[in-house]
Every structure is written in C-alpha cells, then in structure tokens.
Amino acid sequence: MLNVSEIQTFEHDVLVIGAGGAGLRAAIECSARGLSTGLVCKSLLGKAHTVMAEGGVAAALGNLDRRDNWKVHFRDTMRGGKFLNQWRMAELHARESPDRVRELEEWGAVFDRTKDGLISQRNFGGHRYPRLAHVGDRTGLEIIRTLQDHAVHKGFGIYMECTALDLHLDAGRIAGVLGYWRESGRFVLFRTRAVILATGGGGRAWRITSNSWEYTGDGTAMAYEAGADLMDMEFTQFHPTGMVWPPSVRGILVTEGVRGDGGVLLDSRKERFMFRYIPEKFADETAATEEEANRWLAGDKTARRPPELLTRDVVARAITQEVSEGRGSPHGGVYLDIASRLPAETIRKKLPSMYHQFKELAEVDITRQPMEVGPTLHYFMGGVRVDSDTQMSTVPGLFAAGECATGMHGANRLGGNSLSDLLVFGRLAGIGAEQYVKGLGAAPRIDEEQVRSAVRRATAPLNRDAGANPYVVHDDLQGVMGRHVGIVRTEAELLSALKELDRLKRDALGVKAPGVSQYNAAWHEALDLRSLLITAEAVTRAALMRQESRGAHTRLDFFGEREEWQKVNVIVRKAQDGQMETRAETRPGPPRDLAAIAHASIEDLEAGRV
C-alpha cells in the first residue's frame, strides 16, 4: 500500500493554482498580506494563456476621452453581458480596474503613451470610449511579465510544471491538493488552508480554439468534484476573428484591436456586411452608414461607432451567417481588411504581432492583403460560482478568480474586460482568502485514504496493459463539441452531444499511456481528459437547460432573449448519486442605484444626471 508520508509535501496557508494574470495577482496579494503562499503553474512561469491576450486591458482611466468613468464602463459591461452579470462584480470591476492598471505601471509595465505622456487607450467592441490600455498588440505579455518580475522578488513558493489533480477536503472545507511534477512524474501533496483556483477555461474541448493546451478546465472540474457549484456554463465565447488558413493554425486569435484601429469585415462581394446585423438595442449608438463610421474613426465625437465594433457574440453570429449563406471567403471565413484602411507603416507599428503572425504562418502580408478570419472558441464566461466580494465558492476555503470563476461577464464578455478581471478579482481573491484563513481554527487534516485512491486513479493509465489512445479520445471529443455544441445550438444537437459524451467518458476510463511517468505527454493527456469531459458535459447540460438565445448562447429552437430567463442562472453541480445535475436558480434583483446606471441613457450618464 502506498505510504502517503513518502509523497513530497509542502505546507501553505494558501495555494494558488494557475499562474496566469489572476493567479499571479492573487499570489502577490496573499504574500503581501503575510500568508505563506504557494503558486502552482501547469507550465513554466510566464507561459500561461494570459501571454496571448493582445488588444488591451479595459479601465476607465479617461486618458483619451474625459467623458469616460466607471459608471459608463459598468453600463457597457452589463449591456455586453445581456444583464446576466452579477451586478456587484461588474461594479467592483469597473470601479477598481483603473487602480489595478496604474499599479502595474508602478511595477514596471510600459504601456503605449498618449501625447501628454499618459497611458494610451484604444477602442474596442462594446466599449463606449477608447478604454483599453495596451502595448501594441502584445498587452498580455506585458502584464504577465510585469507580474512575474514583481512576484519573483516576493519570496513565495513557485512550483513550475506541476499539475494539480484533486482537491482534498476535511469536513467539507479545503485541506489540500494533490498534484504531480511533469519533470519526474512524481506526486506532490500540498497541505493548505485555502485554495485559489485560477486555471482559466476549457477551450481545448473544441478543435477550433484560440486556447493553448493547458486550457482543459482543470479548476472547473476539480471544483465540481469537490462539490462546488458551477454557473453560467452555457456561455462560451466564440471570438469572431480567428485565423482560418492554413488548417494547422485554424483558431489562432486575430486581435479585436484590428477592428478597433479601423479594420473592416467584408464578405466575398467586398461588402461591409456588419451594417446588416445591428441589433435594435444598439442601433442608437451604432453608425448607420460607412461615411458616419469613418467620421467616428477620424475622431468626430458626434458620429457613432462602426458596426464592426459591436459585441463579440453579435459579430461572431454575423460571420457564421454570411459563411452559411455562401458569401464567405475561399477557406470558409470572411475578410478582415486593415490594408486599405491604414498606411503600411502604421499597421506594422500598431499591430506588430498580427503582421508577424500572418506573414510567418499564412504567408499573408496584412499591409497589402485582407486577412481571412472566422469564429474560434475563445473564452468561458461560466465557471466556478463565487461570492461577488470575497470570491469564495460554495466550498469553504475554495476561491476562484479570472476565467475559471464566473459572474463578472454575464452572457458575453467585452474584449479587454478579461485582463482587468484578472487583476481586480485576483487581488480580491487574495483578500478573501486572507479573511478566511485568519478566521479558521485548527488546521484541516487530509484523509490519507482519499490521497491513496487519487493516486491509484491517476496511475491507472500507466499501469493497465492496453487501452484506447488518449490523443484519439481527445480528438474525438473535439469533434463532438465542434459538431454539436458550436456557436448555434438546438435541443437535438445537444442531446446527441450528451450521448456521445457518455461514450467518451467510458473510453476515457480505459485509456492507456505507454512509457514511464517522467514527462510523458500521453499520460498528461490521459489525466486531462477527466477535466475536459466534466467541463464539456457541464457546458452541454447548461446549454440544454437555457431555452432562449442570449449573448454567446444561441438556440435555433428558442430564438431571442426571453424575459423569464434573464431572472435565472443555470447552476451545475455533482449530485449525491454522483450524476451531474442542473437547475435554474432565481437571481436576486439588482441594487436600485446600479440598475439606474445600467439602464440610463448615455446622455444622462455623461451629463452626470445618474
């Protein structure tokens, strides 16, 4: 029998799982508050998916347009989220993001500048004013490097290439985490009083995704297995512009900054089709003609915004419809044209990594030719349900921040609101964890039998004589999700997906990883399958339950938003019998002052009448 005391063990007050923006910011906060802190990174430090964020971080600094303030940002966020956001989270985010951005500058970040030497800001979909602080189109890299360089001097434990497998509880509270080192294949046990999950989303369950290999829904699945509520899982964001050609790069992100800087979407007839897709609710604030859109771009404050900058759900659906009606580009996308809008030198200066990416991967020169783009699975609005102020989940001692948590973005996230989300709620999760740890009595204890059974489960793919190839099962899953749980959904498709997922769950239980446990990619793939499948099933079941179309969730059989569904969130959890259960839970009414801001006219907000 495995002796648990022989497993390498570390002790902390708080263990942060995930080292992207949210995890790093949370760990920095915990450490600054005197907690013994550990940070678990699935990859090397500084490689997490935050590094891929391109366009910018949204904060109402008002550096380019003085009319901007937290209330307008809050209103934009609620409207973008189709009013399904947790009101308090959207408020905290809008109020606190400017301080978090300025704090990064104090820690060494070098954002692009205005003429006055302040942090410059760019336009983005759904944001009323130029609001995204940015560094060309590599803002995520700047943020993760700034946090990383700040963090390494704080003296807390950083565990690289370490994958968390299971949360361990003592009387329902967090007691520890079991993980393994990629390098050696050995297990590691963290005894800890609190855990902050910051593991991102689960985009790797789809084939066409902007997500890197790590995004297998680990935090979502671990929280689910520990009994925590998941929420809003049906809302998966398809970013409208991913690369579509060549096949091997399909899904790689093309920043919304291209459109923010004037890029336009064209169909095969070279028509700006977005003018035909302006939703009624946004018609008052969207340009009616190309001429007006061009005036807005030139800085005319009386003109309205181009329709290419509508929210991502709207643009992604429009592209899907154009392609399905036969007006797509040769490789099944549409055209995104910046070449005819800006001088070549400006494009290279403002969008250097897009220039580089297309040149090297697709042999397309974006200063001369249009890009071909199409929707790509990009972001989970749903995730672990948390308290809006403390970020604690429904499991005591378990916190979540960033993409793996839910509530901030409602039914659709605005571009740029993710990087600010990471910073604001990473910090708040750190504060929440400190309060929890200080109020905790005796240290929780880990049940050794639980650890032994987790180790047995994890080593099974290595130990069995034969079984399915884990890569094939993963590929199969990606096909299923792409076919049945895509950008537009129906009951029949979702039911087919559930049937296929049942089959895949059985397959996953019998996969074989050949070779030894040291840096064995097949074994890692086998272990990630559990998280992927739980996440995929949660998305599918939640999508089946929500009988309306709202934000990123589109049901062909339930067209349009339904009043009664605005009043509920879909909750997913593990039932007593081990099955996944979903229920619709009524939302508390909004605080009156916040509702007044969210529903105010822009004129009233700007005039300070709200």
Binding site: R113, S212, L253, Y471, G515
Partner: protein
C-alpha cells in the same frame, strides 16, 4: 499531403539516440504540428514543451536542422522537399527528456536582477513618460523568454560560463530596467561584475536567432557595455574616485 522524414532525439540526461519517423505532412504545417502528429500516431510518450502555438509564449524552443528555433513558427516549406528534418533539444541546457530541457537556471538569473524601483509620481498622481522615450524599452519587453539567445551564446553554450555571464536574455532585461524612464536603481556596477557584461564579445549570434527580432546586441548589450565603460574606465572619473574615495 506528402510523406516526410524526421529524426528526433529521444532520451534522458543519461543518454539517448535519434528515432527515425516517416509521417504525412499537410500544406501549411509547422514543425510543431508534425511533432504532434508523430506524438499522437507513432510515439505517444514523446516529450515536447509547448503552449500557445503562435510564437507568443516561447515554450517550444528546440534545435531544428542545427539551428535554434521555435517549432511553432518553423514552417515545413522552409525545407527542401526531400530534406530529412533533425530535431534536438537545446544544447546549452541539461536534457530532462527528449526535446525538453531544464531551463531553471534562467529563472534563477531573473531573481538576481535588482527589481524595478520607480521615482515619485507627478503632482497629479500620475506617471508621465513619452512614447519616444519608451520605444527602446518596449523593444526589449517584446522578449518571450524562449531562451534561444541563451542557447546560441558562446559564453553559455561552448564555454559553459553560466557562473560568470547572465546571458543575452538577461542583459536585455537589465537594459530594459536601466533605460526605463521611471527607474531610479543603479545596476551598472552589477552589470559589470555580477552579470559579467565583459564576457560578451559581440558576435551577434543571439540577435540572429531572436524570433521577436530584438536588436539584442546593438540596442541592448552594447549600450550597457558603454555605460560600464563610462562609469569604470573614464579617466576623469577614475581620478575623481582616487581623490574622493568613491
């Protein structure tokens, strides 16, 4: 689709050998795509380190036909039709397994660098910097920490002087701090002594392999060397230090 020949180094710190693979390659593929296909179909446990597959994270550094490259940004049409493609781990760092090396030494170096120390904010509570004053620092901050520059640096790769020289990546990090308009710390004595700026003999190999096209040598290392020279080898300053004892 065409069949291509690959030689992939398989092994551990204890030793290893090349494995031969023949695999179908599709239009537009990069080397990383082919390695993934080999992994899924022929060598399930092949160790590769990768993340973003878009040249933004700097994880999939390896030596491809003898040249340090990011596998995700190396297109197959770079090679002649019948050319065998040989893939090896970075040479300057110890092998963990197959194509994965232990790059932890680099993380240790970063910790040694004195952190950013900004001066006071302006009277309006804001920092002000002008774009032309941060262009150079932003160039350095494009670094994705792929360590290809560290891999080709003669001082680290051939002379094994990791004890004496911090390598191009961290010279660039030092330069980005030294040239940051808000920073007030002085790292020049450390650049010379602890970080070993004198070891670089400006062969520019690091600049050549940088996937972000950072002018590592000309814009980073040479200006740092000049600052060291101005400080320590300027005859007037030398005389001043003799007389005033600082």
């Amino acid at each position: 689709m065409s069949e291509r020949a690959f030689r992939i180094w398989r092994g551990t710190a204890a030793g290893g050998e090349f494995g031969e693979h023949r695999i179908d390659v599709d239009e537009g593929m990069v080397v990383l795509d082919v390695l993934h296909r080999i992994q899924a179909k022929q060598a399930n446990d092949l160790a590769i380190r990768w993340n973003c597959k878009a040249g933004k994270c700097g994880s999939c550094s390896m030596e491809i036909n003898g040249r340090p490259r990011l596998a995700c940004m190396t297109r197959m049409n770079l090679f002649a039709d019948r050319e065998t493609i040989t893939v090896q781990p970075l040479k300057a760092f110890p092998v963990i397994r197959d194509l994965v090396t232990d790059v932890s030494w680099n993380f240790e170096q970063n910790k040694r660098i004195p952190p950013f120390r900004p001066g006071p904010k302006g009277s309006d509570g804001q920092y002000r910097m002008h774009q032309k004053d941060v262009d150079r620092v932003q160039e350095f901050r494009k670094c994705i920490e792929c360590y290809l520059c560290q891999d080709v640096c003669h001082v680290l790769r051939d002379q094994s002087r990791k004890d004496a020289f911090v390598g191009p990546r961290f010279m660039i990090r030092l330069a980005s701090l030294e040239m940051h308009p808000l920073d007030t710390a002085d790292r020049i004595p450390a650049v010379r002594k602890e970080f070993g700026s004198g070891f670089c003999n400006i062969t520019r190999c690091c600049t050549e392999v940088c996937p972000e096209h950072i002018e590592i040598t000309d814009n980073g290392i040479i200006p740092l060397k000049e600052r060291v020279v101005d400080r320590f080898y300027d005859p007037l300053l030398w005389l001043g230090r003799k007389i005033f004892g600082r």
